[in-house]
Symmetry: C2
Subunit: 395 residues, 2 copies
């Protein structure tokens, strides 16, 4: 898609990136994402969603279609609808059931049906209003409807704002694996309205913290220290702390994605904790643990494996475990049989020729991707396993 | 995906393009396709499929998976399997039911299930062995399995060799429209083995001629004249004539796709006759008329509309009608009510903001895309309509 014009003419302050990290008066900033075929802005701040100015510069389209779920729509749908109405001939919406278990073909079909029944053409602009599930599935619908239409991410969960809405990974789950069917399709804009986080349940908020924490060990030890020092402010959802955390997370993600859009190398580091995490999600059934909860626990296991392989000192594991625990996330893995663990992880998309590949930390602030001997992997898991077959319920 | 090394080291003669159009002794030639993100060869000739050398230079992958249908597999499957076996740790195959009505989610799911159950990773190489349906659906599976794996087109119908296997358009049908769900995903190679055409039923062969004929009026009047002069040789499936027709068709398609991969402009001319044709297919039910039959008739209607709008002399319509008829394709449209025609065509992917856009010839060898008044469109249809509600069965 063609790059759109920068928003400078409307609000010059929006283009101020770099230090100071965001405009102190409005708490707003812009992070740019540049890939070989696209360039788009992540706009971060409070009160953005309802402002018509937030939407200027997007591709012209007769139809605007908001995809949301039955939980988020009543809270934010009408405001978004009003803000974008002047930009389209008609704005319609389609609502999906809430939850990871609905990130499937059936929900996707609901979107396709709506688009075709309302006569949407291939310039239609889709708006994904919701968390990671809505964003991933809307992105995949946009990637595949008439071979591709543009879409906007309007993430309303912390996890989606700092991770899943940025970078163009779209997907649905398959009964045999999470995110197995998908496409790379970059949004034309990401709008992170921090006000939407105020209504987020505590458990979902904590799940988002897992992905923020992730950026520290893999890319920025200074940010890891900042998170440790500001975790209480984040848990209290203090706007300044939230703005900083979202911005820095998006900056790191933008940098990594810009260097490797298609995950041929560097981008895989963003999956720190995810190989273990996906196995937990798959074994327990999607939705029992939230994705961020599984990633939180997965980071502890990946840190342990990193230490066991001699890449980082043992103290790093306790540092990560303590931070994950303080964030309100599980640090003990469910107790599955060893063969089950290995079987689940061989289905990971990073696996190649049957070899499981792990994202490991080789020094705080730097990650590598590599295989590991099965016995080391299982030892790391056992070190942090709960007793009992199903694992503990998350905090 | 990364461009692969040219095959020059293995067989220098393969790289000879330009005049003479193909190697007289082997009837082989190579046409290159270059898009912003990929470069690949279309290899054309007899006996290519079973030759291990045809497959050299493709991406290394542990798993090779042949997707075919129950008609084509028994004829060509074993030879292909033997030729590629040395390149992979394992080669498996998955068979779909034959026919346009199976170009749907259910067949796609059959492929995904096979890939996941056999543990295929994201370097897996898919081979589409069959006609346009197999090629389109395999391409879409490749575009979306783990967010994209490479695939090879091994078209075994004339239509697939000269049109659908080249250019990266992949799709499945939706109950509300043909090819509505899809992606642009270029193959890493196209292998047109002319010997596979010898077993093609006459009706399918004629359907392929429609897409060859198409290239003349939209891009190369000299080629249109050549087809008129050599149609009897083509219908007799004379190898030299077939080789020339397939090569020139692929050259034109490669040129157009290279200039406009995503159909933002020029590429739409390849849909000459398709707006009318898709409407016929949709109204009669997919599979009742073959795609090429609907396109043949659609080209007559589009030529009539071009003449009625004053773009070409009236004689051009008769020239096209006669050629389509000689090829054994229907030239009279089924008699639907006017409103039904318009409604069907408004679902065309080229439609924008409810306006139907037609590919029209503004001089023999050159096409334009534009809207047309409804009454002119309906008049052109009436001029070439059969009597009776369902239209005539194809020849």
């Amino acid at each position: 898609m063609a790059p759109h014009a920068p928003a400078a003419a409307e609000d010059p302050s929006l283009l101020t990136a770099g230090p100071p990290p965001h405009d102190g008066s409005t708490g707003r900033c812009v992070v740019e994402v540049t890939t070989p075929a696209s360039r788009y802005e992540i706009r971060i701040g409070r009160g953005l969603l309802a402002e018509p100015g937030s939407w200027a510069g997007l591709p012209a389209a007769a139809d605007g279609v908001i995809v949301s779920n039955t939980t988020v729509w009543p809270i934010h749908g009408p405001a978004l609808c009003a803000a974008i109405a002047p930009r389209h001939r008609q704005v319609t919406h389609v609502l999906l059931a809430d939850g990871e278990e609905h990130k499937d073909w059936s929900s996707l079909q609901t979107i396709y049906d709506h688009l075709l029944r309302t006569g949407c053409d291939r310039k239609t602009l889709l708006y994904a209003l919701g968390g990671g599930v809505v964003g991933d599935i809307t992105g995949f619908a946009a990637a595949t409807y008439m071979r591709g239409v543009p879409f906007v991410q309007v993430p309303t969960t912390l996890l989606a704002q700092v991770d899943s809405s940025v970078g163009g990974k779209t997907a649905i789950n398959h009964p045999l694996g999470k995110n197995m069917i998908g496409a790379f399709h970059q949004p034309v804009r990401v709008l992170c309205d921090l006000d939407t986080l105020s209504t987020l349940p505590a458990r979902e908020f904590a799940a988002g913290l897992a992905e923020i924490i992730k950026y520290g060990p893999i890319h920025d030890e200074g940010f890891l220290g900042w998170i440790e020092a500001n975790l209480d402010a984040l848990l209290a959802r203090e706007p300044a702390a939230l703005a900083r955390a979202v911005q820095r997370s998006c900056e790191i993600k933008a940098e990594v994605v810009g260097a490797d859009e298609r995950e041929s190398g560097l981008r895989a580091i963003l999956n720190f904790g995810h190989t273990f995490g996906h196995a937990i999600e798959a074994a327990l059934g999607y939705g029992r643990w939230l994705h961020g909860e599984a990633v939180g626990c997965g980071m502890v296991l990946a840190s342990q494996l990193s230490a066991d392989l001699g890449l980082v000192p043992g103290g790093f594991v306790e540092r990560m475990r303590r931070l994950v625990q303080r964030a309100g996330l599980p640090t003990a893995a469910p107790a599955f049989p060893s063969e089950r663990w290995l079987e689940l992880m061989r289905h990971d998309k990073k696996a190649e020729a049957g070899e499981i590949r792990f994202v490991l930390v080789d020094r705080p602030g730097h990650a590598v991707v590599r295989a590991a001997p099965d016995e080391r992997v299982l030892a790391a898991i056992r070190r942090h396993s709960a007793t009992g077959p199903g694992g503990p319920p998350p905090a």
